[in-house]
């Protein structure tokens, strides 16, 4: 009897250990693998990739003085190609100063307001996309690498719960499309695993560059759910969960998507 009870406890313990580790597709595949040949060709040739227009602009902005400080990003950070290497692969992360979960957009704007004494850049403005794409480019090819610890566990859990919770008039959760149905067709799209690794990315449908949050809002819209604002806590928490889920995939920024 006692032994059987122990066995039961053991089984329960292993079930709960399993539950603590949320489901992840295996093997992980970038959305690029689900894209058509034309989109892949556009991405793989740096010159024809329209996303590179934004990194070119980002490089210019990096060296331009801004705000009342008249400092450029380069005044403090010098050469982005060395000093920003691998930085965005570790985002979103908890900022040391504010103790808040911050993504790369938020970090750049923090430097704008606090270090340059300049106006923050609007989410999805060409300038912010240019700077984040340029910073992101310095991590291209590196593995997405976030750590979940005591500081960001609450954010991670909120993001995870959002991913697995049904929402909207269609009553679907992220997991229904991106864990259970990747590789299948939805209208004229092939559903991917829904990873964050190419953002900011150029989307042919948008005819422009867009942030991860813009892409996520499109998914909320798709299931007829209320769309959280870009830069909101909801989307930041979801971004952290997505980064954990994409851990090991290579950063593709600036990506190209249909």
């Amino acid at each position: 009897m006692m032994r059987r009870f122990q066995l039961l406890l053991l089984t329960l313990a292993s079930i709960s250990a399993f539950a603590a580790q949320p489901f992840r597709p295996d093997p992980l595949k970038s959305g690029l693998e689900f894209s058509g040949a034309e989109v892949r060709a556009l991405y793989q040739d740096d010159f024809s990739s329209p996303a590179m227009l934004w990194t070119t602009r980002g490089e210019k902005l990096w060296n331009e003085p801004a705000g009342t400080s008249q400092k450029s990003c380069a005044s403090c950070h010098q050469d982005a190609r060395t000093r920003m290497k691998g930085v965005s692969a570790k985002y979103p992360k908890v900022d040391r100063g504010t103790a808040q979960l911050t993504n790369i957009e938020g970090r750049v704007n923090q430097c704008r307001t606090q270090n340059q004494q300049a106006e923050p850049l609007r989410y999805d403005s060409d300038e912010l996309l240019a700077l984040t794409a340029y910073v992101g480019l310095q991590s291209r090819g590196q593995a997405v690498n976030v750590t979940i610890d005591a500081q960001n566990r609450r954010n991670f859990e909120r993001g995870r719960d959002m991913f697995f919770t049904r929402m909207g008039q269609m009553n679907l959760a992220c997991t229904h499309c991106h864990d259970r149905n990747f590789g299948r067709k939805l209208l004229n799209d092939t559903v991917s695993q829904g990873h964050s690794n190419p953002y900011p990315a150029y989307r042919l449908e948008w005819q422009t560059m867009g942030s991860l949050h813009r892409r996520l809002r499109a998914c909320f819209f798709g299931v007829r759910a209320e769309m959280p604002a870009s830069g909101s806590q909801d989307l930041l928490d979801l971004e952290l969960f997505l980064a954990w889920r994409a851990q090991g995939l290579k950063v593709e920024t600036p990506g190209v998507r249909k």
Binding site: F47, S48, P50, L53, W54, R57, K60, Q207, T208
Partner: protein, 107 residues
């Protein structure tokens, strides 16, 4: 700020076919879209793009609302003399852009 990227090979042999490429960041507004308040967004496209090789025109494109945003063009010229390859363009608002790159031609 107009941003463009051009690709001109730095060197070529006389008589050789040379590939030139240009990408321009531009919304290419068709004039058929409306903003969130239902107001028509005025048409604004890069209507003319020129390429000059040592001052003489070697390529011209006239574009309109049928061309996607951020136009990308690729075309060929025959290398003759060393000098400059200059691109220039103008949109419906009269905003102009230019970019150039030198080419060294050997015998």
């Amino acid at each position: 700020m107009t941003v463009a990227r051009i690709l001109v090979p730095p060197t070529a042999k006389r008589g050789e076919l040379v590939e030139l490429r240009i990408a321009i960041q531009h919304p290419m507004e068709t004039g058929f879209r409306m903003d969130n308040n239902g107001k028509v967004i005025p048409k604004n496209t890069v209507h003319t793009l020129l390429c000059r090789y040592n001052g003489s025109e070697v390529f011209r494109a006239e574009m309109g609302s049928g061309i996607a945003a951020n136009p990308y063009l690729q075309f060929y010229i025959i290398a003759q003399d060393s000098g400059n390859i200059e691109f220039s363009w103008v949109d419906d608002r009269g905003e102009k852009g230019a970019a150039s790159s030198p080419i060294t031609v050997t015998a």
